[in-house]
């Protein structure tokens, strides 16, 4: 088991390095291959007034004339110890972890991401809990009551959940529950530390809309998994031992059916932590998703680079957790 974890950890670190290299290459190598010179490249990093002097300054600060691997090394080093953007005239300091410096907004990227992170975390984790519990519960009941009205009804709703885009459900719910009937007025993010009650109340609508989408998927997955598991021979053995039906369903059946669900959950959550872009945009929640959209709008490359790295990190890490969890849940994987 330990060797398994060590092997996965090493693979994860390796993967993160590869991801950073590829991302870096996209931003700094490909434009060069496309024919841009360093001056043109620097133009894209400069702020609102691309004066000739400013571009030269940025060009020097980013060290674009250095060989590519030096640039990459500086970039990596910056993540650990911080980076000095030296233009010869002035020096801007970007404290560690330095994922880049946005010349357009004149500030390091990382602190902006950090301030937006709690919003995304609240949104993602809250919705995840709802969809996991809700989806699995509905899936289990549907499987046990296969063919009944409940089953057909819930699978029908699940189809709707999977098909309706989130901006649709989001806007509809805002229209109904925020404007028309002020049950959840003024949906704005309030920090948990400021006011837990408001924090929760304002997140209910985005949570439910996001969870509706995923719960549908998880209900279907759980239902399929349960139907398959309950047909297994070991369920028959469990009943033959005289176990109460509830134990058979949960301890023997659901436990086995959940394994693939756990895997998918990890991946979904990992992806979501990188920013639930559409949801945040619809509900105007300033999380990483909104940050990403704004960065793209503004063509702010350092911000885009930073958020890409962060999202990739979440996904790779989620992958690792899921792999380890899988080995914990299924002993056959360990040996």
């Amino acid at each position: 088991m330990i060797t398994f974890i060590i092997r996965r950890l090493i693979a994860t670190v390796f993967l993160l390095i590869v991801v950073s290299a590829i991302t870096f290459a996209i931003f700094f190598l490909i434009p060069r291959l496309a024919g841009q010179n360093t001056y043109q490249l620097a133009t894209e990093y400069v702020g609102r007034n691309p004066t000739h002097a400013a571009v030269l300054q940025v060009e020097a600060q980013l060290g674009l004339d250095h060989p590519l691997w030096v640039q990459y090394w500086n970039f990596l080093k910056g993540i650990v110890v911080g980076r000095h953007y030296n233009s010869g005239i002035s020096t801007t300091y970007c404290p560690p972890p330095c994922f880049g410096y946005s010349f357009k907004s004149q500030q390091p990227v990382w602190p902006q991401m950090v301030s937006d992170l709690p919003v995304t975390l609240s949104l993602a984790i809250g919705a995840a809990v709802i969809w996991l519990v809700g989806g699995v519960a509905i899936g289990v009941i549907s499987a046990l009551k296969r063919g009944t009205l409940f089953d057909r009804f819930s699978m029908g709703i699940a189809l709707a959940g999977v098909s309706l885009p989130i901006f649709f459900t989001g806007l509809i719910s805002l229209e109904l529950f925020s404007y028309k009937w002020p049950i959840f007025p003024n949906v704005q993010y309030v920090s948990f530390l400021t006011n837990p009650f408001l924090w929760a109340r304002n997140l209910v609508l985005p949570w439910l809309c996001l969870a509706f989408l995923y719960a549908a998927l998880y209900a279907r997955l759980t239902r399929a998994g349960m139907l398959e598991t309950m047909n297994e021979d070991y369920i028959r053995t469990a009943r033959a031992k005289g176990l109460p039906e509830r134990t058979v369903i949960f301890k023997h059946g659901l436990r086995a059916a959940l394994t693939p669900i756990v895997t998918i959950f990890g991946m979904d959550l990992g992806l979501l932590l990188g920013g639930a872009i559409i949801t945040e945009y619809t509900f105007s929640l300033h999380g990483l998703g909104l940050f990403t959209i704004l960065a793209i709008d503004n063509q702010d490359l350092p911000e885009i680079l930073g958020v890409t790295m962060l999202a990739a990190f979440f996904i790779v890490f989620a992958n690792l957790v899921v792999d380890v969890l899988y080995a914990v849940v299924d002993p056959r994987v360990r040996h």
Binding site: D233, Y234, T237, K241, G242, L243, A256, V329, P331
Partner: protein, 341 residues
């Protein structure tokens, strides 16, 4: 004469399906005393597994329609409350299945699964249950049981897994043990060990055993009495000597003649039973075996229209066949000659 531990009378188990009514078990009756072994022989679709699942009450929650009587130690199980039957399952009657790898839960240790079986029916602490589980593993011949109890099923070999299943089934000292094809998935030498184990455990616990199999060799090893089933019905019932020395049903003759045997040089062609086992939705009218029976013509059409009743051809030896004893003797004489070839 011991009281019958298990009395099955006129058991019918039918399943309504979209394609029709599946008559999986159609009129099965037998008794079984403590300390004795009944072998139920049949091929796929004979109803042998379905009837034992019925005895265990494992058709609960399915669409099965069960009529007839199943009396375990005098207590009627058909129509009994699900809770009562569940109480008896595992404690008074236990079952082991064909494939021990798929029949044990892959996520729990073997020791935990055995302890679970014990805990369901006995109010003891987890430590006591675990100790009992280790004890049972030792009794069925698993070396280093204390360490092995913490292993998972996939870490055991096939024979050891089946022993573990037997340990689990016997953990509550059941009076009836049903073994459904317990050795089919195992190697020959391991099969011999498991059969010996079942024999020894029966003597130790004085339980009644039903062994279900398609292998006539296995059935001969263990059984005192044998029930031959075909298409959900009883074809022949008698002691092991009756069935092997003086079989009365053409299906039994067919089975005995068509098997290649280790103890006899069957150098000529085997004599198979023509045709295939019937569908349980469209069971042939009259005698279900008549389409495949080479003696059907001798019954003057009765085998096509009339279901043969179980009639005694000797003390305790019943056969469901329309052939008269003279016809049977003549046919048997011919069959006997074939066997000696």
């Amino acid at each position: 004469m011991a009281d019958a531990l298990l009395e099955v009378s006129d058991l019918h188990i039918h399943f309504p399906t979209d394609d029709g009514l599946v008559r999986a078990v159609d009129g099965v009756s037998f008794t079984l005393e403590r300390g004795r072994t009944l072998g139920i022989v049949g091929e796929s679709g004979s109803g042998k597994s379905v009837s034992s699942l019925g005895i265990m009450g494992l058709h609960q929650g399915t669409r099965a329609q069960i009529t007839g009587h199943i009396k375990l130690d005098g207590e009627e199980l058909v129509g009994a409350s699900a809770a009562r039957v569940r109480e008896l399952r595992g404690s008074k009657m236990a079952m082991i299945f064909q494939d021990p790898l798929s029949s044990l839960h892959p996520y729990y240790t073997v020791g935990a699964q055995i302890a679970e079986a014990y805990l369901v029916h006995n109010k003891v602490s987890k430590q006591v249950a675990r100790k009992h589980a280790i004890d049972m593993l030792g009794r069925v011949g698993i070396p280093q049981p204390a360490t092995r109890a913490d292993d998972y099923p996939h870490q055991f070999s096939g024979g050891m897994r089946q022993r573990a299943m037997i340990a689990m089934a016997l953990s509550c000292d059941p009076e009836l043990l049903i073994a459904d094809e317990p050795t089919t998935a195992l190697d020959v030498t391991v099969q011999a060990q498991i059969l010996d184990l079942i024999w020894d455990m029966q003597r130790e616990y004085q339980s009644a055993v039903i062994i279900i199999t398609h292998d006539l060799g296995v059935v001969a090893e263990l059984s005192d009495d044998i029930l031959v089933m075909y298409a959900g019905r009883m074809a022949e019932y008698g002691s092991a000597e009756d069935i092997f020395d003086a079989p009365g049903h053409p299906y039994t003759w067919g089975l005995l003649n068509s098997m290649p045997r280790l103890d006899q040089a069957r150098l000529d062609r085997l004599i198979p039973i023509k045709g295939t086992p019937p569908s349980l939705i469209n069971v042939p009218s009259g005698c279900p075996f008549h389409p495949r029976c080479q003696y059907a013509a001798e019954t003057n059409g009765r085998s096509e229209t009339e279901i043969p009743a179980l009639r005694p051809v000797g003390p305790g030896h019943l056969v469901a066949c329309h052939l008269t004893s003279d016809q049977r003797r003549a046919a048997r004489g011919g069959a006997a000659r074939l066997e000696d070839a």
